[in-house]
Symmetry: C2
Subunit: 669 residues, 2 copies
């Protein structure tokens, strides 16, 4: 095959498409304008020869990788500085460069300067007073200082009140004295903290006048601006290799009597006066905002991850030929196997559903934020509960989906040159950071049982839990007719039942004399299941209404594709939860068979458009960075090219032959 040709199997797939990929891509990216902005940004960064890797990073040691990544991070930051100077940076630019898209083509295992841009600067903006913003933001935006955000400790994660790091106010010098009194109090995990940042926002337990006041953020200088040597009392370094995020330079930080001026505490929400008087925050819920913001943003990022993983698996499945179906014919493209279709197609559908859900909840979040600023907190608990369970479900499902895609590529998915190992490492991390998934589900569940009690006493409920009221009014599901609308309803009905079970079992424990918290732990399993179903019901509902709205807006050809995607998503979701459905709803074996056969029908219908769909995600080859998934489908040639870059293959004989192998082999002759 000539080196610029497209694999003919892949080409044939493209010609089968029944819809206009450009129409899909514009929708996927948010319109023609955003599409063009994306292309422009890609050109600016991807055409820079200094940002291309000759040697794939998998061949480097962690230290080499870090040094390589700092070099590139600085080039990226310089370009950003220029864009900013020209007023050409916007939210999308930062998202592209520090999320899983363009940025991953440049520093695929994570940018060591990321936390400067996504946490250090935003925290000063969100929690600093106007004076503090004036003092710190210019320096930060211009990168005269480089910051990170230090909250999690070696012994303390999701439960913030357990943090051990202390900041005691010394009114005599008007300084805070910061300490990490034990090993487990060491700050742990902040990106860039190892050797990159010279400042950190350190979250610590605040004491003034000897009295504990709660958590507060402090700007702490970690390293000297001229020499980069750690400041006095600072013990800082890199925490070592991990599954992924290998170049993020996650660090540790010990503090021993480190003094910072009074003004280094970010004081927008709470204040310490020079004499040590503490002024409590007016509104303790404001900090929820940032956490919700991050979780909501994660859902949108995960849809990009699924687009990436399913693109690789889909293109490979169209090129790879293996295991005959008809023994008289050559081995078919593996996508001909229905079992392969069931692996890959639902992941394509999930990418689309997660995007729609992500945008929906993003809009909800913006409305709630607006209401919050006007002092209206009515929808905050609902929004918080939703963002928690959706973060948990979409991250767990995405990580699982990446592995399904990888395994669908057989052994070749196991090689780094497939890029699946990196994608999985980056994705599974989301299950833990920004709130560990089980803790997230328990937070949602706590809201749901509260809501259930309200519904029982006849109180009206907010929209996203309205289905619980409906259930309490009518506990019969009625006959199952297999429509998509009814599948959505079935998810809600099951969710309501799961909430009821958690509530009733918890009440039973309470009647037996357990405190509410102990009772909640005794029904922990039931609570997580209820929260999980709540999130899945929301996903089903959003998929249904979101796609139906889209179907009305797009061309008939694309509408037909969206219809299949919706059907596939809902059928796959409900067949995967059949235990819950059958428990509470009267489905017959015949109903289940009907759903199964319809799913098979959907796979068949999606088949001719599958490659075109992943093409429409418009993931750049450099972002895919996969020998299996490149747009030209030259899979074997690209695997081969990647192998030829292996430094071990540059010398025909490795020195260990003469050092160890030969003496050993000859020893017994």
């Amino acid at each position: 095959m000539p080196s610029n040709a497209v694999n003919p199997d892949l080409q044939r797939e493209r010609e089968k498409a029944s819809f206009n990929t450009q129409e899909f891509t514009y929708w996927w990216l948010g319109g023609k304008e955003k599409y063009e902005a994306k292309k422009k940004l890609e050109k600016l960064f991807l055409n820079d020869p200094e940002l291309k890797d000759e040697l794939p990073i998998s061949y480097m040691s962690p230290k080499e990788l870090y040094e390589h990544s700092v070099r590139k991070a600085v080039i990226i930051a310089k370009k950003l500085r220029e864009l900013r100077a020209d007023g050409e940076d916007d939210v999308d630019t930062y998202t592209a460069l520090f999320g899983g898209a363009l940025g991953s083509a440049l520093i695929k295992e994570g940018n060591p300067m990321m936390l400067h841009f996504v946490m250090f600067v935003p925290t000063i903006m969100g929690q600093g007073t106007v004076e503090q913003q004036i003092e710190w933001l210019t320096k930060a935006w211009d990168c005269n200082i480089l910051g990170t955000y230090a909250q999690t400790e070696l012994g303390h994660g999701t439960f913030l009140r357990g943090l051990e790091t202390r900041a005691e106010y010394d009114a005599t010098t008007q300084e805070f004295v910061l300490n990490t009194p034990t090993i487990s109090a060491y700050k742990w995990w902040p990106g860039g903290m190892g050797h990159t940042a010279n400042h950190a926002i350190v979250v610590a337990q605040l004491y003034t006048k000897g009295v504990f006041r709660g958590l507060a953020p402090f700007i702490v200088q970690l390293r000297d601006l001229e020499t980069h040597m750690p400041m006095q009392g600072i013990d800082v370094g890199d925490i070592g290799p991990k599954i992924g995020m290998k170049s993020v330079n996650n660090g540790y930080l010990g503090l021993k009597n480190v003094r910072v001026p009074l003004n280094n505490m970010l004081m927008k929400n709470q204040q310490v006066l020079p004499d040590g008087t503490y002024v409590a925050p007016k509104n303790s819920v404001l900090t929820y905002g940032t956490m919700m913001f991050v979780r909501v943003a994660l859902i949108r990022d995960l849809s990009q991850t699924l687009a990436k993983a399913s693109t690789i698996a889909m293109r490979y499945s169209a090129v790879r030929r293996q295991s005959p179906i008809d023994p008289n014919k050559p081995e078919p493209q593996i996508i001909e196997h229905t079992t392969q279709q069931l692996k890959v197609f639902p992941q394509i559908a999930k990418a689309i559903i997660f995007k729609i859900t992500g945008e929906h909840i993003w809009n909800m979040f913006n409305n709630v934020s607006g209401e919050l600023e006007q002092g209206n907190m009515d929808r905050l608990p609902e929004m918080h509960a939703l963002s928690c369970c959706l973060k948990a479900i979409t991250s767990a499902d995405s990580a699982a989906a990446v592995e399904v895609c990888r395994l669908s590529c057989g052994g070749h998915g196991y090689m780094d040159c497939s890029n699946f190992p990196t994608i999985y490492g980056m994705t599974t991390a989301v299950c833990t950071y920004e709130g560990e998934n089980t803790v997230m589900l328990l937070q949602t569940a706590r809201y749901l049982v509260k809501v259930y009690a309200q519904a029982l006493s006849g109180e009206p409920l907010v929209p996203t839990v309205q289905y619980i009221s409906d259930y309490i009014k009518n506990r019969e599901f009625g006959a199952f007719d297999c429509t998509l609308e009814q599948i959505v309803h079935a998810f809600q009905f099951v969710a309501a039942n799961k909430v009821r079970i958690a509530y009733e079992r918890m009440e039973k424990h309470r009647r037996q004399g357990h405190e509410p918290e102990t009772a909640a732990n005794l029904v922990g399993i039931e609570l997580t299941q209820a929260a999980d179903l709540h999130g899945r019901a929301f996903l089903a509902q959003t998929a249904y209404s979101g796609l139906n709205e889209l179907i009305r807006q797009v061309s008939p050809a694309l509408a037909a594709v969206f219809q299949t995607i919706l059907e596939l998503y809902l059928l796959d979701a409900c067949l995967g939860r059949m235990g819950d459905l059958l428990r509470f709803i009267n489905l017959t074996d015949g109903d289940v068979s009907k759903l199964e056969l319809r799913l098979a029908e959907c796979l068949k219908r999606l088949r001719p458009n599958a490659v075109a769909l992943v093409d429409s995600f418009d993931v750049h080859d450099r972002v895919l960075d996969s020998a299996l998934g490149a747009a030209d489908g030259r899979v074997y040639e690209r695997i081969f090219e990647s192998v030829k870059k292996n430094p071990m293959n540059k010398e025909p004989v490795n020195k260990t032959f003469h050092q160890y192998l030969k003496p050993f082999m000859k020893a017994n002759l």
Copy 2:
């Protein structure tokens, strides 16, 4: 805490145990004698200072890691040679050194000489004539030559008939001419083939007198014995980094008119005479033996993997304190959270069940092998079908279990120093090698639908599928009484139903005019589900009978623990398959609730013995190689120690500060 102290939380857990851990350990390892042999072997290898790593391997580049691993592989092979000379090596020695146990403490990402011992030597033994064994085996045992086994190609995996590598016999010179005619024909994946081995058994399509004869194995010299340079026509190298098995030196091999003498074809089963006459094998099923052997052995290995992963998660869960249950008390050990118990305890149970199943099927395999040698092939298809689906289920479940254990350790499981990344890499590989899991399930399913047709026509069935006959005779399950025996029966009943559905839908497609193979593909999803349920029914049955037998043999204290393990395993398994159970069996919501509450009860009952159970697995600290899982529970201290070894932390300031960061930060001042 003093550096030799045991974490008091962990110590307290040990004191709670109600059974004698020594009794369990003896059973787990196969008796006191085996226990002592294990300790002796561990001492021999683990006390050798040359086999200890000062620098954790995560800090090395792939090339450094390879060189480091060859050095150690040679030391191990030398010790093996000595053991062998003293007649002190046995099967257990090789299993320990090249499986996931002792060997993983020495070369955790895989021994580059492994395939020499586990494939090269055994293949010569199994497929060479007596003369060939005399010629090659001494050299191989003494490691005067180092071999590997080359079957899989870049474009061809599980479907062997698709292999492209050709061996054409040239009667004029009495040689075979071997070629890999395309890129996709390159041999790909063999361990040690990159730069270590100098010989390979190459599986190729045999042609004599211009006629295609089938697959045959050839011994091919890859590298010169003196210089290690690749022989003429040989293109060989390392395929590059992967998720795991990072030091196995998986290689590629291209052959261009490579000539080997007639006698280099292994001729025990089939022969080529000097004039090119081909003598076909008497019995084509004999090669099944090796594949079954390997798959059966994998099941036992996976039980060790689960023991390792659950030990780490369990000990960490006893030491880590996080998220209050009672708000008036300090943060509890995380194992107090019922959600955490549901993550970790079932994995402990699976380790035990997989061991019991592994041994049961190992004995079955030995019986069938004995029968085979006497020409009796009656139980071969049954055995083949069972080994395929069990390989698929236990590998998929084990990989999932490792991730559950890892995620149960929160962010710290993500660090290499937890050892989870390596354990996952090694475990998920099993889903693909020795037969890709979906292909495995389809092979089992093909057997099951055949058996179903036999049962329909009244033919008697062999023991492991007898339940299908029973189902055909009586299609009513009757009332569900929630006993463990009935859960086993329920799994069989569901499996029979799934086989029926696959069979009936396939028949329907055939009546509509599809060829059998096309029909089979159209019901591919149903077939894999049937095979999966068949395997799970076998696991449930084996767990039930195996543990009940054990319970009669051990002390009452240990019997009580085994009873809980059995209950936990079966309840967890059936609650995880509730969709299937509810579809075919008339369970009420009340029945499901009863099962759920009983599972909660089991978790509670296992709680005081959980740490003692993982202690009883007797996994050496060096094998665990985990800061989170060491026997002393000094989690934070060990994480900290591992971080201090990071080469990046040996210098306070990385050179990239002066090279890149400082000029950039100062540029805008």
